[in-house]
Symmetry: C2
Subunit: 338 residues, 2 copies
DNA sequence: CTGAAAGCGCTTACAG
DNA sequence: CTGAAAGCGCTTACAG
C-alpha cells in the first residue's frame, strides 16, 4: 500500500492535478461539485500532501526552532520542557512547524549555525542554554535569521534577548532577607561565565550596599549551578563564617545543596539559617517544607519568544529585548530574626 | 542575501550540479581536487542543501515522531520531557530527524493519523498519553506505519506496546506495605479507563489476596490522577475508615494529595499512616522527607521505543511488547507497625 | 471553472 | 572522473 500522491487522486476524480491542488488549498475557483468529489477521494485514499513537495512547490510551511546545546536525560528544573511547550503552542497557533534542535547534533554533522537553519528551512529560532564560548554564539550576530536568545546578551541586527530582570529579582530576594533582619548574607552563585550569574550578583551587591551592609566578597561562592558544589562550598562557608544567617542562591538546585549542607552540620532551615532560591522548579514546593524563591515561567518565555520571532519574520518588527515577569514566592525557608 | 543553492556552488566551482551533489553525499567517484574546491565554496557560501529537495530527490531524511495528545504548560512529572529526550537521542544517533506532534494540532487540521504521518514523511511514531476514546486510537491498528504505544494495549500488525510491568510493580509496592505490618491498605487509583490503572489495580488485588488479607472494594478510589481529587477522596476514606494505616497510590502526584489530606486531619506520614507513590517524579525526593515510590524512567522509555521503531523500519523486526525495568525506591514514607 | 507547463532544489541512473 | 536529463510531488502563473 503505497502512499497516494496528488496524481492518484486527480486520476480517480477525473480532473487535473492543478484542480486538486487548488481545491485542497482552499481556492474558490473550483466548482463545489468537483471540490466535493475530491474531498471524498482524498478521504478514501487517505491522501495527505507531501509537505516536502509543498515546500519546494512554493507553499512553504514555515518552521520555528528551539536550539539547545543538548538534552539532559531528565531535567528537574522543567526549563527546557516549558520552553518547548511555549514555543510549540505559538507555532501551532500561527501555522508554523516546531522543531527541536541540538548544537551537539549539528556539530556532529559539521554544520554551522546558518547552515543548520538553512537545511531545515528555519525562519526563526530561540536559543537557550548556549555557552558564551560556543562557536554558535558568535555566528548568531551575523545571521540574517531572526533569533531570540534566552538569558544571554548578543549584539546583532536580527537578535533579541529574552529574560526576566535578573538583577532586580536578586535584589528583591536579598532585600527580603534584609527586611527579616539578616545582615550576614552569603550568596551561592552559578558560573561566572553565565550572564544571569553576573546579573544576580549585581542585584545582590546593590541590595547589600543600598541597605548599608558591608559587602564581603568571601561571602560569595561560584558553584556552577551544581547541587554538589553548592553543598561543599556551603560547608566551607559555614566553617569559616559561622556568623552567616542567610543564603541567597542563584538556583533552586543549588539551594537544595545549601540546605543539605546546613542540615548536615546539625542546623535547621529556617530556624538557624534562612535560604532563598531562584527558579521555582517543580520540587521547590516540597523542599524543606517549601522553598522561598523567584518564580520564572519557562512556558511564558517560550511563548513570548515565539511571538517575537513571528513579529520579526512577518512584520520585520525588531525588538532588542523581551522582559519576562517573575514573582518572589515566599514559602517556608526565610525566618525573621529581628 | 539569498540562500545559496546547489546551482550556485556548481557555477562558482565550475562543475555540474551532479558533481556537487555527489561530492556532498560522500561518493568517491569525485576527484580529490574538485572535492576540495567544492568544500571550500560550500563554506564560503555557507551552503547547506535544502532538506525538502533532498527528500523529494530521493535522499529522504527519515523522521521519528513523538505523538502526544497535548502539551501541558508545565509538566512536573517530567514524563513527556524524558520521552522527548530519549527518542531524540536515538533519532540523532541513527540519523533520523525527531519531530514532536500533538493530536490536538492535527485535529485542528482535520487530519487522521495516517494523513498526519504521511504529511510529515514520518516513518515511525511513539504515542503517549492517548486516551482509549481518542479517534486516533483505533486508527493506529490499521496503520502500516510502525508505532509504539506507551502504557496502553493496542492490537495491530505494526503496533508495539511499551511499559513497565505495572501489575508487578504495584504488587511489590503493596507487598512492601504488608511486610511492614500493614493490613488495612487503601488504594488511590488513576482513571478507570487508563490501562495502567487496571494493571496497578490487579497488582494491588493480587498482593492483598496472596497475603491472606481481605479485599475491601471500598478501600479503592479512582482519582483520575488528580492531586485535588486524591486529597478529597482521602479525607472521605479517612472519615469512613479510620482503621486504614497505609495508602498505595497509582501516581506520586496523587500521593501528594493523599499526604496533604493526612496532614490536614492532624496525622503524620509515616508515623500514623504510610504512603507509597508511583513514578518517582523529580519532586518525590522532597515530598514528606522523601516519598517511597516506584521509579519509572521516561528517558529509557523514549530510547527503547525509538530503538524498536528503527528495528521495525529497517529490519522489519516486529515486537509486540517492550518491557521497561523499574525500581522500588524506599525512602521515608513507609513505617513498620509490627 | 479547468488544464498544460514550468519550476522549486535536489538525486540518481545512464552515458561518456 | 564528469555531465545532461529525468524525476521526486507539489504550486502557480498563464491561457482558455
Amino acid at each position: 500500500m503505497k502512499k497516494a500522491s496528488i496524481r492518484d487522486v486527480a486520476r480517480e476524480v477525473g480532473v487535473s492535478i492543478t484542480t486538486v491542488s487548488r481545491a485542497l488549498n482552499g481556492y474558490n475557483d473550483v466548482s463545489a461539485s468537483t471540490k466535493e468529489k475530491i474531498r471524498e477521494v482524498v478521504e478514501r485514499l487517505n491522501y495527505a500532501p507531501n509537505d516536502n513537495a509543498r515546500s519546494l512547490g512554493g507553499k512553504a510551511t514555515k518552521v520555528l526552532a528551539l536550539l539547545v546545546s543538548g538534552l539532559q536525560q531528565r531535567e528537574d528544573s522543567g526549563f527546557v520542557f516549558g520552553m518547548i511547550s511555549g514555543l510549540y503552542c505559538v507555532a501551532e497557533k500561527n501555522d508554523y512547524e516546531f522543531i527541536l534542535l541540538t548544537t551537539n547534533g549539528a556539530k556532529q554533522k559539521k554544520m554551522n549555525y546558518l547552515q543548520l537553519c538553512r537545511l531545515k528551512n528555519i525562519e526563526g529560532v530561540i536559543i537557550s542554554g548556549i555557552k558564551m564560548d560556543d562557536p554558535y554564539y558568535t555566528e548568531l550576530a551575523k545571521s540574517e535569521i531572526p533569533c531570540v536568545v534566552v538569558d544571554a546578551e548578543v549584539e546583532g541586527e536580527n537578535v533579541c534577548s529574552l529574560s526576566i530582570n535578573n538583577a532586580e529579582a536578586a535584589y528583591k530576594s536579598v532585600e527580603l532577607l534584609i527586611q527579616n533582619g539578616h545582615r550576614k548574607i552569603a550568596m551561592v552563585n552559578g558560573s561566572s561565565s553565565a550572564e544571569v550569574s553576573k546579573e544576580r550578583y549585581k542585584g545582590y551587591v546593590k541590595a547589600i550596599e543600598e541597605n548599608g551592609l558591608e559587602l564581603d566578597l568571601s561571602y560569595i561562592k561560584s558553584c556552577d549551578f551544581e547541587e554538589k558544589i553548592a553543598y561543599e562550598k556551603t560547608i566551607e562557608l559555614l566553617n569559616t563564617h559561622p556568623e552567616i544567617t542567610a543564603f541567597f542562591c542563584a538556583s533552586d538546585v543549588m539551594a537544595i545543596g545549601v540546605i543539605t549542607a546546613i542540615n548536615s552540620i546539625g542546623k535547621e532551615v529556617p530556624k538557624d539559617i534562612s535560604v532563598v532560591g531562584f527558579d521555582d522548579i517543580p520540587a521547590a514546593k516540597f523542599v524543606n517544607g517549601g522553598l522561598t524563591t523567584i518564580c520564572q515561567e519557562p512556558f511564558v518565555m517560550g511563548k513570548k519568544g515565539g511571538e517575537a520571532l513571528i513579529a520579526m519574520i512577518e512584520e520585520n518588527k525588531k525588538t532588542s529585548h523581551i522582559n519576562i515577569p517573575y514573582t518572589l514566592v515566599e514559602r517556608k525557608t526565610v525566618k525573621s530574626i529581628r
